[in-house]
Assembly symmetry: C2
Homo-oligomer: 497 residues x 2
Amino acid sequence: MLENIDLSRKIEKEEYKAAMPGLELKLGVLQREAIERKIPVIIVFEGWDAAGKGTLINRLILNLDPRHFKVSSALKPTEEERLRPFLWRFWIKTPAKGKMAVFDRSWYHRVLGERVNKTVKKPEWLNAYKEINAFERQLADDGNVIVKFFLHISKKEQKKRFEELESSPSTAWRVTKEDWQHLQQYDEYAGAVEDMIAKTGSSQAPWTIVEAHDRRFATVKIFKTVIQALESRVQALKAGGEQTARVQVSDNNLNDVSTSILDRVDLSLSLTEEEYAAKLKKYQERIRELEHQVYMKRLPVVIVYSGWDAAGKGGNIKRLTQNMDPRGYEVIPIGAPNDLEKQHHYLWRFWKEIPKAGHIAIFDRSWYGRVMVERIEGFCTEAEWKRAYREINEFEEQLVNFGAVLVKLWLHIDKDEQLRRFQERQENPYKQWKITAEDWRNREKWDLYKIAVDEMLYRTSSPHAPWTIVEANFKYYARIKALKTVIAAIERRMGGT
Amino acid sequence: MLENIDLSRKIEKEEYKAAMPGLELKLGVLQREAIERKIPVIIVFEGWDAAGKGTLINRLILNLDPRHFKVSSALKPTEEERLRPFLWRFWIKTPAKGKMAVFDRSWYHRVLGERVNKTVKKPEWLNAYKEINAFERQLADDGNVIVKFFLHISKKEQKKRFEELESSPSTAWRVTKEDWQHLQQYDEYAGAVEDMIAKTGSSQAPWTIVEAHDRRFATVKIFKTVIQALESRVQALKAGGEQTARVQVSDNNLNDVSTSILDRVDLSLSLTEEEYAAKLKKYQERIRELEHQVYMKRLPVVIVYSGWDAAGKGGNIKRLTQNMDPRGYEVIPIGAPNDLEKQHHYLWRFWKEIPKAGHIAIFDRSWYGRVMVERIEGFCTEAEWKRAYREINEFEEQLVNFGAVLVKLWLHIDKDEQLRRFQERQENPYKQWKITAEDWRNREKWDLYKIAVDEMLYRTSSPHAPWTIVEANFKYYARIKALKTVIAAIERRMGGT
């Protein structure tokens, strides 16, 4: 496919000089429109070494308002980055609404350089296609305009450019041994590029191959492509189209979730105080040992606590962490998103909190808010929460693929027990702060929440990321069950490595 | 001094069991008060290896609401951290208002471990005392409650604890060769501790030495100290005291700044178009070469653009960066602080943007907003902007001590020229977005701004961080002068290394 690209295309100086001022003005106007209409924009530059990425990116950004874009270079991952799933460092750099993120190389590194140089194994880069497509689809569904460039030059041209750089003392250092090695691998690399373009091109995130022998031709093509992408989105919005309108979610209603999972939970389960004290001691000692092993073996651990208000999440987490080393774990409480978080895809703030390999992250509430409170309270559209089941499953699958132990706990109590606990809080001066008018309002919607929870448990439990329902009417029982569940999950993984 | 500490102090089990519930409740209540009253809290744990830092920190945080605190461990700096001044990684972790930051080891590492192990040179750790004191004073002045613990055990006790840990297979790995080496260095380390306590204890950020042989004694002392610190701040606020009232700034008024620096600027300086074109080309080529050298030599470069509205900062920056490699520089536009930034010390958001060594950060407006727009518009108190001159000087000195090239440019135009440019913007449909009602309002305060700018230039120009005034009535001249100034500053430093 690459060999059919006409690399002789060029633009003469006069034509270029005539065209650019108009394109520059247009791009400036469109950037301001995108800012006003809160469109997030992602521009990816991939391409051969010495194809001119740096110069062409600079040419583009000089016309943009620097308050609203950011350029990131994806070179070798840092230590911090290596300890997290490979998409982590790109997720956290996805643009807020109205902002533009320009990537000088990107997540495609995994299926190009890392693939060709065999620094990742084949199942990993094969899987990366899946993860990349999910990543781009999720962002496109959330309204991102995605433009991807591949700057193409021939092997002969690349060699010529390396030689030119080497011939001047002030640029010779820029050509490394690695570059010459890449030149040797040109054909292999070209195969990977073709594979990448075939597997990751989509109408939401199309590839544009840029014939990059002639700098002027490449510049004009890049400007025109970005302008066209922005223009068509702005036009669509002006015409009243919803950014996310194109996302069709089949209208699966609750009929699919034929039986209630929650109704089958045995809430009479309990423990005596002696049983509790003995087991608590034993499991707390065990979890501390495991915490150290997790660190030594660089295992990432993600524990998600969900449950009804007053189900005892806080006290439960406290018993889990009581004997742990604070250097090895972190409790991440999730409340309403702040302003900045609201400007991003809803998964963004969770990606930001993904623990380093070797650390334990305990989420007190989580991304499941999307299909519970946000669904019930109308904080997102129906299309958004319906889409979320798939997005959450993909997100969790990526964590597990990366090697994470993932434990998801639903602390379940019944409606009467919740009432009893609310009243107790209200009567105790030291607990009053724990109960708010909102808690009472949520309680009125118990039945709606129950439907949402049942659907959530049904749609997001999978062999690699199962839900554990913790019977929590009796706190002793719930605490021990949570501890046991976490320990078993870590031990299972320890055994496996 | 350490040898006078009575390490035999202990608390019996019954007494402990009787005392703790009350302390725990009290701490919980005080944390909620601190959240409500928006008090930022910093708690530092330093101490001997095996003194029990991890366990004691965990004991403390289990009683806190996890939505409002964060524990950080300061182990060896990461690559990202090594490329920035040593206080950077602590600055970015300072708490927002109402939040608590717990540091498991801290910035004191520099004057303890790093000093004793000679991984920093003597002038560096001597200088660190100065930087640490400035850091803590700036935070205390901004309302932070700072509590610092040193957990003390004897050499004999440390040896005993290492041996105990080694005797069990599940903990033996925790004692490293390094730990035994530290034991050998106990006395040398003790000297550093005493020196540290003497040099960095202050009423704003006092040290508490914790006798840590007895776990119960240490726990109670830590709880009581934190409670006392929070209580006295809460009491002071209830009594109507201003958090920052105690900061006395001598009332230096403009009389000290006897002459106007701005009045002496020759705004008739200009260049012909040919001179401009030739010099632009030459200097743009040179800056690109220097950009690569900056990267190779891992030099951090900070360029600050300030100036009147419409003085041409944007166009000037564009000419500076036109030929540069976008991987090596970043333009950091500074506008009004966002909500999160407002919750922190005003320097926090600039610390966050400090470039990695080897990169060039170009600030389009900067921390000087504090003594200009924030002063004039009343966005901060008089005490705050008066304090800011010293804080800014300290901040910049730290950058320069770290090896940064610091270039500060004031783009100067006169009032008539500004009017001409405002009108031109208003008439040109492609430039209209650049001019707002706020610009006109600012213009009305020209004379007030002029006083502030003169005082700023006077108080924050120093040999290590001088201001350069760029005569900017003629854009060609201003662009070339800015380029030349930046080039000369980098070349000077290059020559020096």
